[in-house]
């Protein structure tokens, strides 16, 4: 594995190896001295051309706990806002001798493109509506810690599937690990061509959350992006909640041990009710701590070994 651009780059064995190391990294979070020397002398740049709190700080802490030197660059306040092209920005940064580039960009395929321009290792931290592979890895890792093997387990994804990179990466990752996946969305937010994709990849689609929810071994609520609400995808926020929100009533139909995931940030009262977000079976905060462990593992696997 040279870069991490898409879940498609990873074999089942590679995912298992990332999870194994992540479990070891998890223990580091409980230590007094949270520091491992594995990436000493290596430099990682977080380039975020889109707002992010948790992903950026998670990558930053992950790099620092592995002793890498970590620098953050965001679009605001960088030369990108002065009109510099992505290629020039990236080449400039890499000319300083950077070993790893963690990149988030609003354009789908940006990370892939960057990986062809530079010698540094590239990690995709979200590219447009395409993929967000570390999110999918941390979601699957969190579920595996709760449920054991995902083989044959039924995972339900609910939300804005059209615009969601988290959805795309998660479907790839979960089906790869043998889970039975059902994706639920209003017809307007179901991606075009999903029928062909779901048939090929072996997952199911539904418009009826109430029919699917009682059979779920885990449920993943995706964020409804506020900017979509004026896009005519659904009549009103309230309407969305009635049809597709994880409300208190729906929570009662869910198996009591089925983990509830949300990649954050949550719109409480819109796609997820406070009762569900704070329920004992909610793993939202566990996802955050797992995310750190998984990102440490990813950085370790990409940057610690000999140069390939």
């Amino acid at each position: 594995m040279r870069h991490l651009l898409s879940i498609d780059d990873l074999s089942v064995d590679a995912i298992a190896e990332i999870f194994e190391t992540a479990a070891d990294m998890h223990d580091v979070q409980r230590r007094e001295v949270k520091k491992l020397p594995a990436l000493r002398g290596r430099t990682v740049i977080n380039m975020f051309f889109e707002d992010s709190t948790r992903t950026r700080s998670s990558f930053e802490i992950a790099g620092k706990w592995l002793s890498a030197d970590v620098i953050n660059i965001s679009a605001k306040g960088s030369s990108a806002s002065k009109g510099e092209s992505l290629r020039d920005t990236v080449l400039t940064v890499c000319a300083m001798g950077v070993d790893g580039l963690v990149i988030r960009h609003p354009a789908s395929g940006a990370a892939q493109q960057v990986s062809q321009w530079v010698d540094a290792v590239v990690v995709n931290a979200g590219d447009g509506m395409h993929e967000h592979p570390t999110q999918a890895l941390l979601d699957a890792y969190t579920l595996q810690r709760r449920l054991g093997s995902l083989e044959g387990r039924h995972v339900v994804l609910v939300g804005d599937l059209t615009h969601s990179r988290v959805f795309r990466s998660n479907v790839l990752c979960l089906t790869k690990l043998g889970a039975r996946v059902t994706v639920v969305a209003p017809p307007t937010l179901m991606p075009a061509g999903i029928a062909a994709w779901s048939a090929a990849a072996g997952f199911e689609t539904s418009y009826d959350l109430d029919a699917v929810l009682p059979h779920a071994d885990a449920v993943m609520m995706l964020r409804v992006q506020r900017e979509r609400m004026s896009g005519g995808y659904f009549p009103s926020a309230r309407e969305y909640t009635v049809g597709y929100g994880l409300t208190r009533d729906r929570l009662a139909t869910l198996k009591p041990d089925a983990p509830i995931c949300h990649p954050g940030p949550m719109n409480r009262g819109l796609e997820i009710a406070a009762d569900a977000a704070d329920a004992a079976q909610s793993v939202v905060l566990e996802q955050v701590s797992s995310g750190l462990a998984v990102r440490m593992s990813v950085l370790y696997h990409l940057l610690a070994g000999e140069e390939s």
């Binding site: 190896e17 070891d24 007094e32 020397p37 594995a38 610690a304 070994g305």
Partner: protein
Amino acid sequence: MADPRIVLDSGDIARALTRISHEILERNKGAADLVLLGLHTRGVPLARRIGERIASVEGVGVAVGELDVTMYRDDLRKQPTRRSHKTEIPAGGIDDKVVVLVDDVLFSGRTIRAALDALADLGRPSAVRLAVLVDRGHRELPIRADHVGKNLPSARSERVSVRLAEVDDLDEVTIA
């Protein structure tokens, strides 16, 4: 290369571990404040075996844990990415304890160097000692073992293999 020659059979290994257990107790004047930490992979079962022996001699349990030094190695960049393992420190921690590191083979000493760095991040033991089943020489760092099962003179090119029932289904040490 020549056929592997057995240098320790299962009886030899058992006797060596029994002696090491007694030596540790003698040196420590009992089992108080003792923590045995096995180094992955084969140091872990060795530490458990020594722990059992000490428990049966002294009649009190002794804390046994496992230490992974992968992230502390000085040759990470020289090889494909290594798999990490679990580090498990016993509940009482290692602060002010006498930590005995347990490994199968002492060779260059670099693993032990890494283990000492790892320990420093985990706490401050009152003393650190080293017990190994085989010392084959060729040290590259100023490190020596306190308790040795067998001193095995070897050529640098020779291969010393330790097999333990917990991992390999039989107990033996061979050189080839």
